[in-house]
C-alpha cells in the first residue's frame, strides 16, 4: 500500500463521525430494548426469546432492531476509539479521564455479551456458563465477581437480566457522562444509518440457534471467537482473564506519553493480529 493511500485511510478514520454514529445506534438499541423488555421473561428465557420471533406481532422486528443496533453501537464505539488514538486526541485528556472513558469499553462489551446470554439459545446458554466458569477461575475475586454479574447456574438469568437492563448501562453511563455532556447528537443527523438499521431489521431476523440433539459445534458471538479458540489450548484463567486483560492494560498505557504510548500501541496491534488469527482459526475448524 502506498504512503498516500495509507494516509487517506487514516484521514478517513479520523474524520468519520464514529461517536455520533455510535450514540445514535445506542439510542435505537435502548428504545428497541425497552420494547423487547416488555415481553421478555427471564424466568423462561429461551421460550420467551423464541416467542418474540415466532408468536409476538412485530416481535421479530423489535428483537432484530435491538440486536443490530447494539452490534452497530459496539462497532462504532471501537471505530471511535481507533480514531481517537490515531488523532492522538487522548493526549489532551487527563490520565484519570482517559481511564474512565476506557472503562466504557468493557462495559459496552459486557452489555453486548449479556444480550447474547439472555436469549438462552444454544450459543447464549453456552456463552453464559463459559463466562461464569471463567470468572470462577479467578482466585479470590472470582466468586464475588460472578455473584455480581452472572450466577446463572444457581439463579438462572435473574442477575444477567438485571445487569443488562440496568447495572452495566449505569456503569457505561458513569464512564461516559462527562464526555457525553459536551456532545449532542440527534436522530436527524444520522437518518441514513437509522433507515439502514430499521431496513435490515425488517428483512433479517436476529440469530437464534435452538439447542438440539446432534449439535456438536457451537460458535460463540463473533467478538468471542478468538477467546473460544484460545480456551481449547490454555487454562480458563490465562485464556479468559489474563489474555483479554492484557489488551485493556495496554490501552490504559496508550494514554501516557511516548515512548510508553508507542510500546503500548505496538502491543495492542500485535494483540489484535493474534486475536484475528485465532478468530479465523475458530471459523475454519468448525
Amino acid at each position: 500500500m502506498s504512503v498516500s493511500k495509507a494516509m487517506n485511510i487514516r484521514a478517513l478514520i479520523i474524520e468519520t463521525k464514529w461517536g455520533g454514529l455510535s450514540l445514535v445506534s445506542l439510542y435505537l438499541s435502548v428504545l428497541s430494548g425497552m420494547v423487547v423488555a416488555l415481553q421478555y421473561d427471564p424466568s423462561t428465557p429461551y421460550f420467551s426469546a423464541s416467542s418474540l420471533d415466532l408468536l409476538t406481532p412485530f416481535g421479530q422486528f423489535f428483537r432484530a432492531c435491538h440486536f443490530y443496533s447494539s452490534q452497530l453501537f459496539f462497532l462504532f464505539s471501537l471505530g471511535h476509539l481507533a480514531a481517537v488514538i490515531l488523532a492522538k486526541a487522548e493526549q489532551q485528556l487527563r490520565f484519570g479521564k482517559w481511564l474512565l472513558l476506557l472503562g466504557s469499553v468493557p462495559a459496552a462489551l459486557l452489555l453486548l455479551f449479556t444480550g447474547y446470554v439472555l436469549r438462552a439459545d444454544a450459543t447464549g446458554e453456552a456463552a453464559g456458563v463459559i463466562a461464569e466458569n471463567i470468572l470462577l477461575s479467578i482466585p479470590w475475586l472470582g466468586e464475588p465477581l460472578n455473584s455480581l454479574l452472572f450466577t446463572i447456574e444457581a439463579e438462572g438469568m435473574k442477575r444477567v437480566y438485571a445487569n443488562h437492563l440496568l447495572g452495566l448501562g449505569l456503569v457505561w453511563g458513569l464512564c461516559c457522562w462527562e464526555h457525553l455532556r459536551r456532545y449532542r447528537v440527534g436522530f436527524a443527523q444520522h437518518r441514513l444509518l437509522l433507515f439502514a438499521t430499521v431496513g435490515i431489521s425488517l428483512c433479517l431476523a436476529a440469530p437464534m440457534e435452538p439447542s438440539r440433539l446432534g449439535l456438536f459445534h457451537i460458535q460463540g458471538p463473533w467478538f468471542m471467537l478468538g477467546l473460544q479458540e484460545l480456551l481449547r489450548y490454555l487454562q480458563p484463567f490465562w485464556a479468559g482473564v489474563i489474555f483479554p486483560l492484557a489488551v485493556v492494560v495496554a490501552l490504559v498505557w496508550v494514554g501516557k506519553e511516548n515512548p510508553l504510548r508507542r510500546r503500548a500501541l505496538l502491543f495492542v496491534a500485535s494483540w489484535l493480529v493474534v486475536y484475528f488469527c485465532l478468530s479465523v482459526l475458530a471459523v475454519l475448524t468448525c
Binding site: A122, A126, V129, N133, E143, P144, A154, F216, I218, L231
Partner: protein, 140 residues
Amino acid sequence: MRGEPLTRRIFLAGSWSWLRWAAGILLLYPLFRFLGYRAPKQPRIVKVGKIVPVGGFALEHDFILFVGQGGPWAVSRKCTHLGCRLNYQEKEGVLLCPCHQSRFSREGVRLSGPARKNLPRFQVVTVREAKDGKGYLVSL
C-alpha cells in the same frame, strides 16, 4: 498541598477522607456476602418415563442415561471444562462438548480435549411397577 506544613486541621481532614473511603470499602463486605449466599437446593429427582433397551440411551436436559448389560447409569451433560452442555455422538459412542471439543466415554471418563476431570455420575433406580408407569428415577 505539596510543601504545606502538616497541621492538625490538615491531618484531621485527611484522616476523615481516608475514613470515608474505608467505610465505603467496608460496606462492600455485606454486599458481597449477600450476593454470594446460595440458598441450599433440595436434591432433584428426575423421572425418565420409558424403558430403554440394553445398549440404548435417553438424552435428558441435565444428564444422559445409558443402559448396559449390568443395568442403567446416568452421567452429567455438563462439561467439566467450562460447563457447556454435552451431546452424544452415537456413531462413535462418545459425549462431545460443542464449545471446545472435549470428549468423554459413555461411562463419563475424559478421553481428550481441554477438560481435565471425568463427568459426575448420578444414582439411578429402575422403576418396574408404578402407578405412573415404568422408567428410571435419577437423583441429581
